[in-house]
Assembly symmetry: C2
Homo-oligomer: 146 residues x 2
DNA sequence: TTTAAAAAAGATACAGATGTCCTTAATGGG
DNA sequence: CCCATTAAGGACATCTGTATCTTTTTTAAA
């Protein structure tokens, strides 16, 4: 019922780059980590994966950093979740029964599956861009972590 | 979107004791662990907590073991989840924003909260007894773990 | 070409969930 | 009371997610 901390780091990292994109084309991990109150080096590792997945771009060297690309805004949250949490969580029986599946369900299977589908929907239907177009933009004032 | 392994151990442990209750009033952790293919000593620790919570009873010594009590069958799954996973998971912002709440929501807050409520419902409305009265009793044949 | 800046990559550390083992306490039967 | 049996409790090991630090690679500017 919860995502990893890494997911939060990744998503907020991408959002921060997107928010800054009209002010600066590239943002360094140093700045992101500071603004989000997040461990710098760890964030770096996660951003690297986000880049590998194609959700962001990056360049090394002076004036380098992380930047938006054609895919960024249209990327579903699911593509970040895939990196940080994987999808195993959507298929694991809560009773941890080996052979629980739709044709041979545990007593909770159907309810749980319906619920997970709804979760999956949220993450697949919502894109990075969607989050930026929401009314609740005030949330952006403080991207700082827990 | 997933419960801990400990939750699965605990719930199946309780279910096994309930299933055996007409054959034997008490079941030893040794037997439970074997039948569920679960680590014996670790299961012991979890069962202890389940007893402490009042969901099961136990007695030491010869012919001892774990047994049902008045509360067992009516206990909601939530009472087990509380022991093994806690409820923090229902309140943690997926973006890990410090001050995300219903009056100042992140763009995902409302959707996520609705979904978590549904999860919470499953675990609070479903009791141990309910699981035993389900049609899908065939699942009981193999309580063995993943 | 040299230099400095920044991401990428590698090594190590830490914490919590999980798992194992050994000791202690309780209990029923002799 | 004594003994065997079983849960409870404590100490330690392992594994995975999280975090830190150092080194390497790439790049832009001079």
């Amino acid at each position: 019922m919860v995502c990893s901390k890494s997911f939060g780091y990744a998503l907020r990292g991408v959002l921060y780059v997107a928010l800054m994109s009209d002010q600066k084309p590239r943002v360094q991990v140093e700045e992101i980590a500071e603004k989000l109150s997040v461990p710098k080096h760890y964030l770096g590792k996660i951003m690297k994966q986000v880049v590998k997945e194609g959700i962001l771009s990056s360049t090394k060297g002076p004036y380098g950093g992380f930047s938006l690309n054609e895919k960024t805004l249209s990327s579903p949250l699911l593509s970040i979740l895939r990196i940080t949490d994987g999808f195993e969580q959507f298929n694991t029986c809560v009773l941890r029964l080996r052979k629980c599946n739709s044709s041979r369900p545990c007593p909770l299977h159907d309810q749980i599956e319906a619920n997970r589908k709804a979760w999956m929907q949220i993450f697949s239907k919502t894109s990075i861009g969607d989050l930026l177009n929401k009314d609740e933009v005030s949330f952006l004032e403080g991207l700082a972590t827990i």
